[in-house]
């Protein structure tokens, strides 16, 4: 069975087509756009909140998008254990809607940053990273102005204790230090997951690292992990793919 991805389109989403293309054309999964005004997830197996500038991000990143009609359905989908991945602006929306803890503030450089960076995979025991057991450092681009993750001490402690930090900014050799912190994030956090392990938010753009034409493909690990987890869930014996890509 092919997994079906639903990509939400908010006004101002601009990585919706990129996610669609990577999932459909590069990875050959089923994909549907989900219009923000509709309360219909079209039987999607996994929901993608794409990057961009929903509602222009004029008030605060992601703060208006969370009131879109479709988000009501996304919330209940997540509460029922459905897989949700928020990328960049999607991550910011997940924070604003309370599906993930913490907030985003402006990059410490106070500037938008677009470049390839390295991520240390901190937790492979999630449906989004299960194929990354051997490859612990991946190269994925970032493109954001507000990716500086902030949370209070108690939240950070909880994130650590529950193994909720999934990706950290690091060097090409996997060294996690302030020198390789792309935006000033606390603990070099680039992506976190909820306690239940079904909602992931990350600032880097895995959909921009799928098409081999562009010369980088590490983003495939994330989407293939999702697809594989869904298949395991559906029928554990029906696993087609091998573990390494």
């Amino acid at each position: 069975m092919k997994p079906k991805f639903g990509v939400v389109v908010f006004p101002g989403s601009n990585c919706d087509h990129d996610a669609y293309y990577a999932l459909k054309k590069v990875l050959n999964y089923d994909v549907e756009f989900l219009w923000h005004k509709d309360k219909d997830l079209k039987n999607s197996d996994v929901i993608v909140l794409p990057g961009g500038f929903s509602y222009g991000d004029y008030l605060r990143t992601g703060s208006i998008a969370r009131f879109s009609p479709v988000m009501e359905k996304v919330l209940s989908f997540a509460e029922n254990g459905g897989l949700v991945i928020g990328i960049c602006n999607g991550f910011q929306i997940l924070l604003e809607s309370g599906l993930l803890p913490g907030v985003m503030v402006k990059n410490d450089s106070l500037k938008f940053i677009c470049k390839d960076i390295y991520l240390s995979v901190e937790n492979t025991n999630t449906p989004f990273t299960s194929l990354l057991t051997e490859k612990k450092v991946i190269k994925i681009p970032i493109a954001h102005g507000d990716g500086n993750y902030f949370a209070d001490e108690a939240t950070l402690k909880e994130l650590i204790e529950n193994d909720q930090i999934v990706f950290k900014y690091c060097s090409s050799e996997g060294v996690v230090s302030q020198e390789f912190n792309a935006n000033g994030s606390q603990l070099n956090i680039a992506g976190i997951i909820n306690k239940r392990r079904n909602v992931l938010g990350l600032m880097p753009h895995p959909e921009r690292a799928c098409d081999p034409v562009l010369g980088k493909t590490d983003g495939i690990y994330v989407f293939k992990s999702i697809a594989e987890s869904l298949q395991l869930e559906a029928s554990p014996n029906d696993l087609l793919t091998n573990k390494t890509i």
Partner: protein, 742 residues
Amino acid sequence: MREPEVTLELALEHGLTEEEFDKICKRLGRKPNYTELGVISVMWSEHCSYKNSIALIKTLPRSGGRLLVGAGEENAGLVDIGDGLAVAFKIESHNHPSAVEPYQGAATGVGGILRDIFTMGARPIASLNSLRFGSLDDARTRYLFDGVVKGIADYGNCFGVPTVAGEVYFDNSYKGNPLVNAMAVGIVKTDKVASATAKGKGNPVMIVGSSTGRDGIHGATFASEEISEKSESKRPSVQAGDPFTEKLLLEATLEIIKADLIVGIQDMGAAGISCSTSEMSAKGESGMKIDLSKVPLREKGMTAYEIMLSESQERMLVAVKKGNEDKVKEIFDKWDLHCEIVGEVTEDGILDIDYLGENKVKLPAFDLVLGGGAPVYIRDTKEPEYLKSTRAFDLNSLPNNNNIKESFEQLISSPNIASKKWVYEQYDSMVRTNTVVGPGCDSAVIYIKDTNKALAVKTDCNGKYVYLNPKEGAKIAVAESARNIVCSGGVPLAITNCLNFGNPYKPEVYWQFKEAIEGMGEACRFFDTPVTGGNVSFYNESPETSVYPTPVIGMVGLVENLQNITTSFFKNEDDLIYLLGEDKEEMGGSEYVQLAYNVVAGESPVMDLEKEKLLQDTLLKLIESKLVNSAHDISDGGIMAALAECCIMDAENLLGATVNIPVKTREDFSFFSESQSRVILSVSKDKKDAFESLVKASGLPYLLLGKTGGNSLKVNNKYEFELKHISDLYYNSISKLMNVTV
């Protein structure tokens, strides 16, 4: 509301000349009223009418090649790239607004050029720019530079178009009058192209997008005068941009075009409703009856004059096929955008405009527009005096340089040569996932999905060369952009130009303009790269100086096969390094002579078009035959800067080289000469024979310079530069200068 009486004085205040005012009175058989005067003055401003440039611009090659829509016919030119696709592209200036309000000035420049592209039905796939500022040791220049870059970044990033290439130069001539030229490139199916026309009696006319406010009134007129102390008071003439609304407008516009609901559409930029109504009418040989009371307004109490002249951004005028009004409205509702019927197309050729039950404008549309009744002038020319002394300057009289090492490090740290990473990392260069080669290389390469093709795009102009020899400098700008395209594996297709000059009423400025046009035309004809359109920006002067004449070229090339995509940096240890072309120790206008001796004099490098073409054809053959691993053009900073860039351009994989650069008369001249038509290639050892025999057959001069390897650049057994050090200077010089706090 009582309106001022129209007199000659008022017309002069509006920027019209006495001759022009007489002309309009004669045409109308009466004096225009106040609102009409406003409309005429913006339509006949330099910015909208091109009155002092159009006659010369028409001498440029404006057809041929793969051109589907020529210059001036639509909002942007259109070039066929096969597979039922065409590429629409154009460059435009936003110099004056950016000089007083850098952030919004630059942002709305990007917004305006994007609208020019999607109003044709094309989806923007790449954004580029060409920027000029004063020197970064000046605090106001840093403020302008920071604001302009942030403005470009915020607009493009939010809109969702990758900003993939550009150029930035710093020189004191641009201190009071920075240049901000924005270019956009889009893709459209050849059978889904929209036109900027209004025809068919009774077809409804709609205004869509943002509401209309008082921002930007007289922006076009402001752009048509010199910058002075008074310019600060023109800040309200600068519009404010809203990239989010523009993104919605893009989606809605493409939907109505795709659904075939409209006759024509035009964006509202300079001169707002005045320009879009008159130009669409004139193009369709029709007229329009408009009621301004229907226009959604942002502010209370606006007059007809203000509504007609407002340059509020993110608006479009649409002529709808009658009967489709509801369908159009439905699409704009879906995207939460205004969409109002404001009038209809008529047959009488008259722009007939009412407001609050009163007739405000009754003017023949044709008389207002470029190509119609707008005035056309050819100004007097006079060769500038300064050329006598720059030409007479003997560059060989410059004292010998005993510290090549220091000079080279200074050169590679110069903001004009150093990496523009500080700039382009603020741009989202990857959104839409088509960017195969992003900023920092010879040209950017953009993949066209569902094909095996890509576009190579580049902007280019060396103002110093144009200053020293306008004709040769303009030829070089065309040739160098073409060379950059070829280095990336593309075939040059066509150009758009942004001609930034001083006050055209000064004969010396007009001489520069005329010479530059001649040189550009000659080069474009030679390379068969017609001019698809562009923009002229005169009056780039401040009380202190006038800018270097800067005719910026934006070029688009086609990479026919993705396998041909080539990058500039060395790839493997032990590859052979070749030079194609030959040095003539041309130092006039070079970055080195300016940096080391503070001299901008002598002759500009010479452009031999035959040789350039031979170089480009041969290089393309080499690339197609898979004989080269990297190709990099030699330009500012000469062969030394080019070699260093080849070593460090892939910042994560520095790769050294050992080379011998032949010295002609002076070591420094041979190292830093900016002779044209030269490239640095790296070639696998096992392809040496095939490579050399192909080059020999072409007749092109070539030279084996050395080979790659190691952690340093070693030159002539005499100099050694550690790559880590060079790369630190190259990548971090601009950010170090920008982090100075004053």
